[in-house]
């Protein structure tokens, strides 16, 4: 029973993925070029050919010298997370319960205490 439930959950996820893949394929088929025409014209045919070559021939082996790239993406993730924290705190926090209600100053009670 547990296995059937797990299998059905995976099927639901696969169906959802298939829908998204279908949408992505439709978008892909609507793309005419790798880069917009204006960009290709501005960088020139030589630079465009180099761009295509670099995209197609990525290095197979890991290069530790580029660890800074990994660190930079880690920093970017941290910046996005901190921005998200600030944004969600400002926007998504429910208003305090006291909002719109009169503030009780407890003046009478204080007078009695005095």
């Amino acid at each position: 029973m547990k296995f059937v439930r797990l299998l059905s959950q995976i099927v639901v996820l696969l169906v959802a993925s298939a829908v998204f893949i279908g949408l992505t394929s439709i978008y892909h088929s609507s793309l005419y070029s790798v880069l917009p025409e204006a960009t290709i014209e501005s960088i020139g045919p030589g630079a465009f050919a180099r761009y295509q070559y670099e995209k197609r021939h990525q290095p197979s082996a890991a290069r530790i010298g580029y660890f800074s790239d990994f660190a930079a993406y880690g920093m970017l993730l941290t910046i996005f997370t901190l921005t998200g924290r600030i944004l969600f705190r400002i926007r998504l926090n429910s208003p305090p319960r006291s909002e719109g209600k009169p503030i009780l100053l407890d003046l009478r009670q204080r007078r009695q205490e005095n």
């Binding site: 959950q9 790798v34 880069l35 993730l77 910046i79 996005f80 997370t81 429910s94």
Partner: protein
């Protein structure tokens, strides 16, 4: 180890592994194409496990989608949907432009010159959105992550003593 503790620890370390993988997958120059592609395939399994662990949340929030919800729940739901869409797009386009891992699976040789660069471009765009939405996903679930980290590391300290 009780099931709840096991589940918490597994989910926590799985999420950490996913975050590190998302950063590592952004830079092919650092990992190299072979590690990049195999790590990408491993991410499919990690994402699947992450979603299965969160299944009750997915079902509850999907059923409540049309009902009255707080802003936070609504934003969280659509953020997760966007992240799922980006991950699916990045993984699918990655499979289509694969030069090492997938050709090995299907036993064919692929020439880099045959690669569809439109898919490569989409792959990069989806990858950026995966990074962005992962960060926002972490931001909105920050309290859970902190609580889980506290719980996991407290257990570490207790077992070390």
């Amino acid at each position: 180890m009780p099931a709840l503790k096991w589940r918490l620890q597994t989910t926590f370390w799985l999420d950490i592994a996913l975050l590190v993988s998302v950063c590592a997958l952004q830079t092919v120059r650092f990992t190299g194409l072979v590690v990049h592609e195999w790590l990408g395939l491993a991410v499919i399994a990690m994402v699947l496990a992450h979603l299965l662990f969160s299944w009750s949340w997915i079902v509850t929030q999907s059923l409540r989608l049309l009902a009255l919800q707080t802003n936070r729940e609504r934003v969280n739901y659509f953020l997760n949907l966007a992240l799922f869409f980006s991950v699916t797009g990045a993984l699918f386009s990655g499979v289509l432009i694969s030069q090492k891992a997938i050709p090995m699976f299907i036993g064919s040789k692929v020439s880099p010159d045959d690669m569809d660069l439109r898919w490569a471009g989409l792959h990069e765009e989806f990858a950026f959105f995966v990074l962005l939405f992962s960060a926002l996903h972490l931001a909105i679930n920050w309290e859970w992550m902190l609580a889980a980290a506290g719980n996991v590391f407290r257990r570490f300290r207790e077992s070390a003593l």
